[in-house]
Symmetry: C2
Subunit: 370 residues, 2 copies
């Protein structure tokens, strides 16, 4: 193999592939990036952690087609430190890859291409395309709610499914049992009969990084066990979480009759301030809601007390309710309008938060006892 | 106590004092800041870790003079989160301090002022003043070399002393046994007979933060056990390290007869690149120096090999020498000219690095076997 690649091009692709590679690996080849140089001037970079695989394609001057694998982090660091504008020559032979640019020469040990594990991208019967903006919205509005509790592995991702009632609706949801985020988009053609899938957090994170550089539409293929995102310059393939997502629609309240309208930024700032006093563990903030006024308060035996008033529009009965400040801030941070709708029932009941009844996203927050 | 202070003023002072407060304290009052409001409109904030004490003075509208102590980090966080432009009212009574600004109210528990430990700033017989720029230079050029090895506590600071030979020279030095940094400034009036002192790292770090906002001159008072920096708006008092700094002048080579002149930036970039390959532990880079050429190389059994050439001016005998890349980069980063002078003797001998023979700072680096 022998190919020459412009530094900026190589660096960008390597930054994508190396972030899929885990820092510690018991299987040595998983630390490596697979480099395939084809005679048509295409160079492919591939990395995997056995669950998630990324393939980047870039153009290069290929003298000798061929393939090899070298340490992804090492190659990334070398290319990062080379001067901007460098032409980088990669050549592999005899178990070594030589990297030459200007007065710098590096020789890295390689591992054989044949040992590199590849996730098969075929046998994915469902095909559809989503606008890049829809996919961004799905991820941005839900990923904060993905559970980090590994014992509830079926909550460690975003649940994507299509309603089978013929309404033409696709829904994405994430929850950790304390809060739920749900986004509704129109069902793209081809996805009508797709199986319900749970996309793992790492796939979500890597996918989101790539989306900023993507064109209008993302082609998605999936089966019940795998999903593949074709982003043009990159293809991301991931195993899906093999589990059953709980029936989250049952926790979305439909009869919360007390509506509070509030400026989300003003409420966030107030909650953030009074939460300074809250103990690290519970982070509980109490909201006392009366017509025209929300009082936020925190009492902590060790630290003291804090109160703050925030204006709000409300004409139902007086209500005291407590929330985890962190969770409430996460959700309020998602509201885009100047007014957030907070639909309440009572102190112990799930609360619904959204921009308006027109918005694609809705959030459910479980209260805390305060 | 009752006083009203503008948020920006209070925030700036609190950011200084709270950084002296350790995050974990076995003595509760050490987590607190002492607030003293005087009838002349002066508010003093004081914090200490028993070794280092900072006192900030700011102007306020004082209704009722008085004093109290509250959690420094808590007060800092509250003030930080209050809106810019707020007028913040502090009032203390009955074991509580009330903080009121706009619609926000906080009540923090206090501890009695009398329990607050104070480092006595009197009994410091030596008095002199240093230009702020000289003090910045002393710190900036030496602090990277301060040892972090707590078993060699006498190296955990900057050694400051005046040559007793009547040359009118003050010297500052820091070393960790692998590298040494030394700065020479002219001896200020009043410092001629000062005792040799070792200023602890934490004092150096906090002092440096404050210097950017300081006027032309810093008034320094010291004894053999304490040092006090009067910065105008703030007074920093620190205990000195009770130990003997080694006679570092003996390791500064005087007969290194091989002179290499090199662009420090070019050498840094080269060293940084080849060091990518070096094992995390040794970080060893080999320099092969010949007339007109420096070859940098690293060989690592696990990672591979790297070489790079850097142009340099040299007309002595061929020399192979190894350095810890991190240490060499630290020193080269201090060179301000376009040319660094590297004075070499042989592979196992200390190397002298400096801007020129006119420069106030010089560095000594011990080589490594490669």
């Amino acid at each position: 193999m022998k190919a020459t690649i412009e530094r900026a091009t190589l660096l960008k692709s390597l930054s994508h592939v190396q972030s899929v590679v885990e820092r510690r690996n018991t299987i040595p080849i998983l630390s490596n990036v697979l480099i395939e140089a084809a005679s048509n001037g295409c160079v492919k970079l591939m990395a995997t952690d056995l669950d998630l695989q990324v393939v980047e394609t870039l153009s290069a001057e290929v003298d000798t087609p061929g393939e090899t694998t070298v340490s992804a982090h090492m190659l990334f660091e070398i290319v990062r430190k080379l001067p901007d504008g460098s032409q980088i020559q990669l050549s592999a032979a005899d178990g070594k890859m030589l990297i030459v640019a200007g007065r710098s020469r590096f020789s890295l040990s390689t591992l054989p291409r044949d040992d590199f594990p590849v996730i098969n991208e075929s046998e994915l019967p469902t095909h559809f395309a989503l606008p890049t903006e829809s996919l961004k919205q799905i991820i941005d509005k839900t990923r904060f709610a993905i559970s980090v509790d590994e014992t509830r592995y079926y909550l460690n991702g975003i649940f994507l499914h299509v309603l089978k009632n013929g309404e033409g609706v696709m829904k994405a949801a994430a929850t950790d049992g304390h809060r739920l985020a749900c986004v509704t988009v129109s069902c793209p053609a081809g996805a009508e009969d797709m199986p319900d899938v749970i996309i793992p957090r790492k796939c979500v994170v890597e996918l989101r990084k790539l989306l900023d550089e993507c064109e209008e539409e993302i082609k998605i293929s999936l089966s019940a066990s795998k999903i593949c995102f074709d982003l043009g310059h990159a293809i991301l393939t991931s195993k899906l979480i093999d589990g059953t997502f709980p029936d989250y629609t049952r926790v979305i309240p439909t009869a919360n009759d007390k509506l509070l309208k509030v400026n989300p930024k003003a409420l966030m700032q107030g909650v953030d301030r009074v939460a300074t006093i809250a103990s690290e563990k519970t982070r509980a903030v109490k909201m006392t809601i009366e017509p025209g006024k929300i009082s936020l308060s925190v009492t902590s035996p060790e630290n003291g007390m804090a109160t703050e008033e925030v204006p709000g529009e409300y004409d139902a009965d007086h209500l005291d309710i407590g929330f985890n400040a962190r969770y409430l801030l996460d959700i309020l941070g998602q509201i885009e309008n100047d007014v957030a709708e907070i639909h309440l029932a009572e102190s112990a009941a799930p609360t619904l938060i959204r921009d308006s009844d027109q918005s694609a996203a809705l959030y459910v927050l479980m209260p805390m006892r305060v």
